[in-house]
């Protein structure tokens, strides 16, 4: 049935009015609604994605009985997605870890906390004494609270004296970070979610927002419902629910996003559609190295060599990217490329670009981020309400914890780096330690860290709040590496048994979400706090407590002299950000507000960074100033970054592209959502999306088994020819949430040399009927 949008809006309005007036027949609930009387309610951000929806949590008799979308939360205004609506069930799985477990003779035996922590401390001490501080490591998470991340960073960098701290955010947002740092000299977006309500043109690049940021996608749809001139254009390598609801779906060959972005810039320059004034006032041009490699060799090292170029030199660089050349590479028709460029440059349109893993999990992820910023800088569509490039974040606190606190090998809080002696000096002062304690050289990115464990250069690794032995690329190598013995010791803190706890020497039962006090920071710089509302089950304890207990046993207890740990730690952490354009408010402010977007100065949050009248750091008369980029006088950088091929493209032997990702109902490795019966029923197992014509050639029908193999591993999956996601010819897609289908064994551990982020979206596979 073809319902025209105009008819739809008319009838929608009528129906809404009718329903409201007549109180129509309400939907039957599958089960009786829970008794919500006598509940104590509190606020918290959702446990899942980087959107950071506000949730109200109802507690009765010490248990979470209900959750609701928080109608007062500006992010979601009362709406959640299906995962959020099941938050009350996520922590109540039958197999919650409740006691520390120690591996003895191949079995996991229950132990006391003291026994477990004493053992862990002994292993740390032994390894540090024998092999040095760089033989121990901690692998944390974008699901760490700010406190957990801060404690880990302080202990490892300021106590033990190693830069061996990495988060799983290296696998999701690292390219976004290096994109921000190289273009603006400061991490995190200049815009905010308000842009979703007031813009009129939205380019989605390799981002299945309908499934992965559903509440934000709803804001876009809501905007379009009210304003029919709004256009949503979906650039994708497969047809998804997002593509279905967009105004236009543009399919492109994997990796060629780099060419398309340059192609759009080419047309903008060719037809002089750029904002010359803006460019003169706010941008400089640079180029870096090319042929920069793929990080496939152990201990791969890369250092870029930025060189300033002129606008004319940049125009010369763009000459290659004619619409015909780009069309040939990408499969996008010339006419479409021209239309898209004109749309981007249209002076009457408020244009936004949105992206997540398509650009970030990419062997040229940093470049992809640079290139999308280029378009916004060329047209001057940036730092204005409704006109911004918005990097969407995957995890609930990849921003708030890993990026802002800086739980990476090379980082310190507030965008600072270990390689800068002034930064080390400042951190040491706040931490009350000798600056010489903080090592001045980064060690390993996440992938390299697990390579080091495999080789034995790292012996002891503590994994908190994440599941690397399901989520790393080229997974088999790292799973084997963890169990090689010879002094290796793996500790995993989690709430459920996972594919990582099964490889651990010690498992520590942990508290999750509202079982502890915490702070998360979402994709729009909104820092959100919550209080502990229920006790964790059994003997499970907060990861923050666990880290401090290790610190005490290693003799670094003095780093954590706090009484009210969370609040005092917050006030200490704030000192890093104060006056840096990343200011955070005092702790009480967050206990009251539904989050605040930093920089928060004099109680006022900032919606638009770098913009006069919004950002308190921009002086009157400056208009727009990228003040963090002091090196280039407060200007942003337009980078000449070329198209370079993927690490492993399809060939005769392995003729298909494999892409991996998520589905709506499950989050990441499905350890939480997989334990909610309704979510499991809604989407049970990972399947292999194949194009019907490709399936026909293989002799595979809908629902039959297909064997997918790469050079690294093999897996048998059910073929899905007509699911919610429809693969393009020559491409297959598999979600990575299924603990019984470790698709990451097939993925290649090639990474962006600048960001260290692996490419989970592109490798070569072959298919056979199974």
């Amino acid at each position: 049935m073809d319902l025209s949008r105009r008819d739809f809006i008319k009838t929608a309005a009528a129906a809404a009015a009718l329903a409201a007036a007549a109180g129509g027949k309400f939907a039957e609930t599958a089960e009786a609604a829970p008794d919500t009387s006598g509940l104590k309610w509190g606020k918290a951000p959702c446990r899942f994605c980087g959107t950071g929806c506000g949730v109200l949590v109802g507690v009765k008799d010490g248990k979470i009985v209900a959750t609701k979308g928080d109608p007062k939360a500006p992010v979601n205004k009362g709406l959640n997605c299906i995962k959020g609506y099941f938050l009350s069930k996520v922590l109540n799985g039958k197999d919650r870890l409740t006691k520390p477990l120690i591996r003895k003779g191949g079995k996991m035996i229950e132990a006391s906390w003291d026994e477990a922590l004493d053992l862990i401390a002994a292993k740390f001490r032994e390894s540090i004494d024998r092999n040095g501080p760089d033989s121990v490591a901690i692998y944390g998470s974008g699901q760490w609270t700010v406190f957990e991340g801060y404690a880990a960073a302080k202990l490892f960098k300021g106590g033990i004296g190693t830069n061996n701290i990495e988060p799983n955010a290296r696998l999701c947002m690292a390219s976004a970070v290096t994109g921000f740092m190289t273009t603006f000299a400061s991490d995190e977006p200049m815009g905010c979610y308000d842009d979703l309500d007031v813009g009129d043109t939205y380019f989605l690049w390799g981002a299945n927002m309908a499934e992965c940021h559903p509440v934000l996608f709803s804001r876009l749809i809501e905007n379009r419902l009210k304003n029919p001139e709004v256009k949503i254009i979906d650039f994708g390598t497969r047809h998804t629910r997002t593509s279905q609801m967009a105004d236009q779906y543009i399919k492109f060959t994997p990796q060629t996003d780099l060419a398309l972005l340059n192609g759009i810039a080419h047309i903008i320059v060719r037809d002089k559609l750029y904002d010359e004034n803006f460019i003169n006032q706010h941008a400089v041009f640079k180029k870096g190295k090319t042929n920069i490699g793929y990080g496939l060799e152990d201990k791969f090292k890369f250092a870029d060599d930025p060189k300033p170029i002129t606008f004319d030199e940049y125009k010369e660089f763009l000459k290659t990217y004619t619409p015909e050349y780009v069309s040939g590479l990408s499969g996008v028709p010339v006419r479409t490329i021209e239309e898209v460029a004109r749309l981007y440059a249209d002076k009457e349109r408020k244009v936004n670009s949105l992206w997540t893993m398509g650009f970030n999990q990419h062997v040229r992820g940093t470049w992809a981020n640079n290139l999308v910023y280029n378009i916004h800088l060329l047209t001057g569509k940036i730092c204005k309400p409704g006109e911004n490039p918005m990097s969407l974040t995957g995890q609930p606190s990849a921003c708030g914890t890993t990026r802002e606190v800086g739980t990476f090998t090379h980082r310190l809080p507030a965008d600072m780096v270990v390689t800068n002696p002034e930064h080390r000096e400042k951190a040491a002062k706040i931490w009350g330690i000798d600056p010489k304690k903080i090592p001045d050289k980064p060690t390993y990115s996440a992938t390299e860290m697990f390579r080091a464990l495999d080789r034995g250069d790292i012996k002891v690794v503590w994994v908190q709040v994440t599941n690397p032995f399901q989520s790393l690329p080229n997974l088999s190598r790292y799973r084997k590496g963890a169990r090689k013995g010879d002094g290796r010791f793996v500790i995993v803190s989690d709430i459920y048994p996972t594919r990582s706890t099964e490889l651990a020497d010690v498992i520590l039962p942990s508290a999750s979400w509202v079982e502890k006090e915490g702070v998360f920071g979402n994709a729009e710089r909104r820092t959100q706090q919550w209080f502990k509302m229920v006790d964790p089950p059994g003997e499970a304890r907060n990861d923050l407590w666990q880290t401090i207990e290790l610190a005490k046993r290693l003799g670094y207890g003095s780093l954590f002299p706090y009484k009210y740990v969370e609040k005092e730690m917050w006030e200490e952490y704030r000192l890093f950000n104060a006056g840096q354009g990343k200011d955070l408010a005092p702790y009480e402010a967050y206990t009251k507000a539904r989050g605040l977007r930093w920089p928060v100065v004099n109680g006022k949050e900032t919606l638009y960074r770098y913009a006069e009248g919004h950002d308190p750091y921009v002086k009157p008369g400056e208009g727009i100033k990228f003040y963090k980029n002091k090196k280039d006088d407060g200007k942003a950088v337009i980078w000449a970054r070329p198209y370079e091929p993927a690490a492993e493209a399809p060939d005769r032997q392995y003729p298909f592209w494999l892409c991996t990702g998520r589905v709506l109902e499950h989050w990441h490795t499905g350890t939480m959502t997989g334990r909610v019966p309704e979510l499991k029923r809604a989407y049970g197992a990972a399947v292999c999306e194949i194009h019907p014509e490709d399936a026909k050639k293989l002799g595979v029908k809908q629902g039959e088994k297909v064997k997918v193999s790469s050079r690294r591993g093999s897996i048998v999956l059910t073929a899905d020819l007509r699911g919610r996601g429809k693969a393009e010819k020559g491409n297959v897609f598999v979600a990575f949430f299924d603990e019984n289908k470790l698709i990451n064994e097939l993925c290649i551990d090639a990474y962006c040399p600048i960001s260290g982020e692996p490419d989970f979206k592109k490798c070569a596979v072959k298919l056979e009927k199974a």
Binding site: A19, A27, K68, A210, I221, R241, L664, E678, L679, K726
Partner: protein, 107 residues
């Protein structure tokens, strides 16, 4: 003159603290009332959903209540499936209940 400085400073400090607190205060917290205003949780879909279905497909019936389809108690939204996911299918449920009843009668 000096006698007044201390109480003056105290007053100034109190005013500053009060205004700071007021700047952050988000009304008096009443999460119970907020929860009462919140929407109920979305029911799962008891019939088979076409895999590619999005709002346009759902609203064919649910916009005006065709074929006995329930009307939504909330204003029309287009991305139905982000909240209303596939639930247990009614026909399967009925068949399973029937089978169970037959087994019990046979005992």
């Amino acid at each position: 003159m000096q006698r007044y400085l201390l109480p003056l400073a105290a007053v100034a400090l109190s005013v500053l603290m009060l205004s700071t607190a007021l700047a952050y205060a988000d009304d008096d917290e009443d999460f119970e009332t907020d929860a009462a205003y919140a929407e109920g949780n979305p029911p799962m879909v008891p019939h088979r959903m076409e895999p590619g279905a999005t709002g346009d497909a759902c609203l064919v019936c649910h916009l005006e209540g065709k074929n006995g389809a329930p009307l939504s108690p909330h204003a029309v939204r287009l991305d139905c499936v982000q909240c209303h996911a596939q639930g247990e299918i009614k026909e399967k449920k009925r068949a399973a209940a029937k089978k169970k009843k037959k087994q019990k009668e046979a005992e």
